[in-house]
Each structure stands twice: as structure tokens, then as C-alpha cells.
Symmetry: C2
Subunit: 207 residues, 2 copies
């Protein structure tokens, strides 16, 4: 499990495979193939087999992949066979959307706390019921709780400062929604969600 | 430009390269290298050179890439050397965040119209000033305007129906935020934004 030599680009595809397997399982399917997964995902079947081969032998020649077995293995590999508390910073429109996001359920994540700097928001409930806390207490709360994962949903001009606070308090994985390039120590993993990147991927195919 | 044989996985990395170049330019940098880009992005320099070589010769041996030149070329290749109108469906928290998103500026996209089914929202302004229109008029409006790109920011149980309407009206590129696997004709490109996928990429590296 978790061979450290696996290229990050391969690692980044594993959650996509896991999601596809979960969708197939929801359709009461039991067996799939690299061909079927590839067709669904726009990835070649050879690439999928090669990616998975970094982690073991999950399929049988001629019979394909047992969906539940491969799903469980990918959950273990990605460490989402457990629940992770996530700390959310930013209780604006995006933060509200994330606090009530239905796509976290059963996939390993739970928004444990939310913070904002706006006195009009602090103490109020977000959609989903989470109480908005004062960002002034962010560092102490993260340290006390030992949260390792943070979501940054604040405006661009506040994002680096929030990242610094989170990292200073012990967070080692950041999901950044702000349209800036965060600076973080190399020991901290950063993922960015950037709708313009996805739209540009789409417009490549438009004339 | 736009060699149809380029693997989609390569295409998907071009907007990441473009964003990195834009950040470098903002730092008043003029020249970069595949090594520097790779270090910033966690992608090998060989991969970056190979990806770019699908589209031409952008660097000079020993001197690297001229940032502005490569940026302009990538904009052309991704067809974001122009502005694209995007139609947004869903004026909830996520839609509001997208309507005022600062990361679209200068990157090829403009939210041209927004629709919702909620009578309490229709006719009201979103953050940024866009008027929320009745989703009942979505098909006619898309057809009349000729919009090709749609963003789906509605709840999961409404997303497929919205996708069907958009596609029926002529949209050929969808950015889906709903946590479901959209079904669309093969002529329609779909990208999904799924924070759980990014969080799972991060937890791979957490013990």
C-alpha cells in the first residue's frame, strides 16, 4: 500500500477511479473492466491497468475487476477507509455551499468546523447547522483538535494569510478555492479547485 | 494547433501550465524552464516538455521558455484568446459564488446569464449584478443566444434534467458541480468539479 514512488499524476487519478466504481456499484454492478472504466472516464484501458498495477493485482485476466474489492482497496490506498475532519475557512457563498455539500458523505470527509472574520457571521449557523466561529480562534482550535486538512474558501487577498495560520497550527493538506497560487512549505500538500482550468479544458475542444 | 490525436490527459494539463505561466508573468518574470514549471506543479520536467511538444517547439535548448510567448500560444491552443459566454444554472450558494468568482477575469470566461427554478430568486440580482432568470426560459434563451458552455450548480436531483435541457438547446460543454455522474451524448464534453476527489488526492499522502 502507498508505494512512495508512485507518480503524483497517477495518485491524482485514483479518486476518479474510486468515484466511477462507486457509481457502478450504485447501479448494482459487481464486475467491471479497465475497458469499461476507460470508456466512462476518457482514459485508455492500458493507462488504467498501468496505474492500478502500482498498487497490486486487482483484476483477473479475462474476468475484469470485482467492483467492491477494488473499491475497498482504493479506499485503503487513499486512506478514506476512515473519516477525516476537515476545517473550513470562509463562510461566504462558497463556504455555505461546501458546508452543505452532499458529495462528501461516505467518501471520507466531514466538515468539523467553519471560521470567518466577519462579525456579522460569527455565531450564526451555516446551511447544515455548523456554527460559524471567529477566525481569531482558528490557530488555537486547529492545534487543540489536531485537524490536518483545511479548505480555504476566502477571498483571494485573505487566502495566503489563512494558509499561513492553518499551516502554523499543524494543517498539512490544503484545498484552496481562492484564485491565487498559495505559497506553502514543501511538507504541505496543496490542491487547488479552479473552475477556469476545467472550462479551458473544455474550450480546447470547441472550435 | 489542436492536433486531434493529443491525449485528453495531456490537454487537461495545459490549463495548469497556462495558470503557472500567468502567475510567473505577474511576478514580472520573462523566462522559465520545464524544470521550474515542474517544480512548481509537481510534474516532471520531461512530462512538461513531452506535453508541449505535441503542439510545437516553444523553448530553446539552454534558454528555456519565453513566458509571454508560451502563454499566448497556450491561450490560442485552448481557444481562450477570445471570450466565451457561459450560462450558469443554479443561483444557490454555489451559483452566487460562481457569479462573483474573481478567477474568470482575463482567462476567457464571462458568466452571461444565470437561471434558477426558485420563484423567490427569479428576478433578483446575484452578487456581481446578474439578474436571476426563470429556468423555464433556459432552453429558449440558450438557443437564441447560441451559448455553448454551461455550468451546472443545482442540487444533485435536478442536475441531469438541467443537463438534458442545456444539451437539447445546443450546449456542447458542461461543467458539473453536482455530485452525480451526468449522462450526456458523446458529442458533449463534461468536466466535473468534485472537492472529495481533491481531498482524496491529499489524504493519499496522510498516514
Amino acid at each position: 500500500m502507498g508505494d512512495r514512488q508512485v507518480p503524483d499524476i497517477v495518485v491524482g487519478r485514483l479518486p476518479i477511479y474510486l468515484r466511477a466504481l462507486t457509481f457502478l456499484k450504485a447501479d448494482n454492478r459487481e464486475i467491471t473492466s479497465s475497458q469499461e472504466l476507460g470508456d466512462r472516464l476518457g482514459i485508455s484501458s492500458a493507462q488504467i491497468r498501468k496505474d492500478l498495477s502500482h498498487f497490486g493485482e486487482f483484476g483477473k485476466q479475462g474476468t475484469g475487476y470485482e467492483i467492491r474489492y477494488l473499491e475497498n482497496n482504493l479506499k485503503e490506498i487513499l486512506h478514506v477507509d476512515r473519516m477525516w475532519d476537515v476545517v473550513l475557512v470562509g463562510a461566504g457563498d462558497l463556504g455555505n455551499a461546501l458546508a452543505s455539500y452532499k458529495g462528501f458523505a461516505g467518501r471520507g470527509f466531514h466538515v468539523a468546523a467553519a471560521f470567518d472574520a466577519d462579525p456579522d457571521k460569527i455565531g450564526h449557523e451555516m446551511p447544515g447547522g455548523l456554527l460559524i466561529e471567529d477566525v481569531a480562534n482558528l490557530e488555537a482550535r486547529v492545534q487543540a483538535a489536531g485537524w490536518k486538512i483545511g479548505i480555504i474558501a476566502v477571498p483571494a487577498d485573505a487566502a495566503q494569510s489563512v494558509a499561513n495560520t492553518l499551516v502554523g497550527a499543524g494543517v498539512i493538506a490544503l484545498l484552496n478555492y481562492a484564485p491565487i497560487s498559495l505559497i506553502a512549505p514543501s511538507s504541505v500538500r496543496v490542491e487547488q479547485i479552479d473552475p477556469a482550468v476545467h472550462l479551458q479544458h473544455l474550450t480546447y475542444y470547441l472550435g
